[in-house]
């Protein structure tokens, strides 16, 4: 596990908090709701506990984006589809959260894939907009990309930590997560747009364009609030080479 000290510490702390609350019977009300909902989806108790615990962990690390654990569980209860696909999608998210990855991008993609479809009377109907296997495949690739990009940044000595150590560049968690999310998402979009994974330079351009645009858009935010400051973009573009991206992408494709 090539994970930095501070991030591991944060994850461990969050894990202990979540587990302690569960062990002492002071489980959060929301987690109980999530467990109940996940069991209603049809998942086994053990799987439901694992998923709900990971969702709580993600919530504590701000890795769920704008979504709450209970609503995520609710989607899978409402939408029709094979149980094994639902389980696989939830476990992909769970694994990413357990690894401390910023899974908000995956969750947003799942929400988009499940969609909202209405009948003639404007009632929401239970079919997902896209087939669950398609969603499963899509987020599997992106989850692998998240892990791959995090590993790539670590390989370039870019870490999350408040501890300055010789040779390491350290970023606050939020900024590090923003880099991982945006790079992985840009690479995922590139692949989904039929981009050639062997063309490292197009991959690099997809990454640099995304980071620069995102950073420029945020540059209008009052000082201190930007999560991708220009200096982080420069850091990434200086350290990552086009040749680094093809192996990262191919690994993600092979493992998904």
């Amino acid at each position: 596990m090539n994970r930095c000290i501070m991030k591991a510490y944060l994850i461990t702390f969050a894990w202990i908090s979540v587990l302690l609350l569960s062990e002492t019977g002071v489980a959060l009300a929301s987690q109980t709701d999530v467990l109940t909902t996940l069991r209603e989806v049809g998942l086994s108790s053990a799987t439901a506990v694992r998923i709900s615990t990971a969702l709580e962990l993600g919530l504590s690390l701000d890795h769920l984006g704008q979504y709450a654990p209970e609503e995520i569980a609710q989607w899978f209860k409402v939408k029709e589809g094979p149980l094994d696909d639902k389980e696989a999608i939830l476990l992909t998210i769970t694994q990413a959260l357990e690894d401390g990855l910023p899974a908000a991008m995956l969750i947003d993609k799942v929400k988009q894939g499940l969609g909202q479809i209405y009948d003639d009377k404007k009632n929401i109907i239970p079919q997902p907009r896209h087939p669950l296997p398609q969603i499963r495949h899509e987020i599997s690739v992106r989850a692998q990309l998240l892990a791959g990009v995090e590993g790539l940044l670590h390989g370039k000595n870019i870490f999350v930590s408040e501890e300055a150590r010789a040779g390491l560049t350290v970023l606050p968690l939020r900024r590090f997560d923003a880099l991982v999310t945006n790079i992985a998402d840009a690479l995922g979009d590139y692949l989904e747009g039929d981009g050639n994974p062997y063309d490292g330079f197009l991959l690099y351009q997809a990454m640099s364009t995304r980071l620069r645009n995102q950073s420029s858009a945020e540059s209008v935010i009052p000082a201190g609030e930007s999560i991708i400051p220009a200096e982080d973009v420069d850091l990434v573009l200086d350290r990552i080479e086009p040749g680094d991206l093809t192996p990262t992408v191919l690994k993600a494709l092979n493992q998904s």
Partner: protein, 186 residues
């Protein structure tokens, strides 16, 4: 030809809605933009499309252009971004057909040798990865400085230098693969 000659006046007139002035800008830059697109995309039809789109897009966004920036760099940036978008949605398919041999008073053997070299350079460009090809085109067709290329492609200047150097080495290797031509070192 449009009555106003200097570029700044043409751009100001274009901003005020004088499309004829923009037409003069198109006249001045269309070949450079087309060459960039042809070099980047290696596909004439796509290059023609993107050249057209570049001038439309640039006109629409003219208010965003700042006079302190070279206009050529700005419009090349738009063209480059549009090329990239086009490439994102299709795999690279080189379709440029070999040109007719040059005619004229040259020795036929020399003409054949030159055509052969040129064909190999074209084929070398076709197979060169986009990331190496793009800076080479901007450098050797559009005559941009390293700094301008870095700006157009959103790359650090050092990376541009490295890519141009490596691109030439790769191109040379591709050309020499069959032992036909020997270029100078470096």
């Amino acid at each position: 030809m449009y009555r106003v000659q200097d570029e700044v006046s043409l751009l100001r007139a274009s901003l005020e809605g004088e499309t004829e002035a923009w037409g003069e800008i198109v006249v001045r830059y269309k070949e450079a933009v087309f060459g960039l697109c042809l070099g980047f995309l290696r596909n004439r039809a796509d290059a023609e499309d993107i050249t057209h789109d570049t001038f439309i897009r640039a006109y629409e966004n003219l208010r965003r252009y700042r006079l302190e920036k070279r206009f050529s760099t700005w419009i090349f940036t738009i063209a480059s971004n549009l090329c990239r978008n086009r490439l994102r949605h299709r795999r690279y398919h080189p379709v440029i057909s070999p040109s007719d041999p040059v005619s004229g008073g040259l020795d036929p053997a020399a003409v054949v040798a030159q055509e052969d070299r040129w064909t190999r350079v074209r084929e070398g460009l076709d197979v060169l990865p986009y990331g190496y090809r793009a800076p080479l085109i901007l450098r050797y067709y559009n005559d941009l400085s390293y700094r301008e290329i870095a700006e157009v492609l959103s790359l650090p200047e050092g990376t541009v230098k490295t890519r141009i150097h490596r691109g030439k080495v790769m191109l040379k290797q591709a050309i020499e693969k069959d032992g036909v031509i020997h270029y100078e070192r470096g």
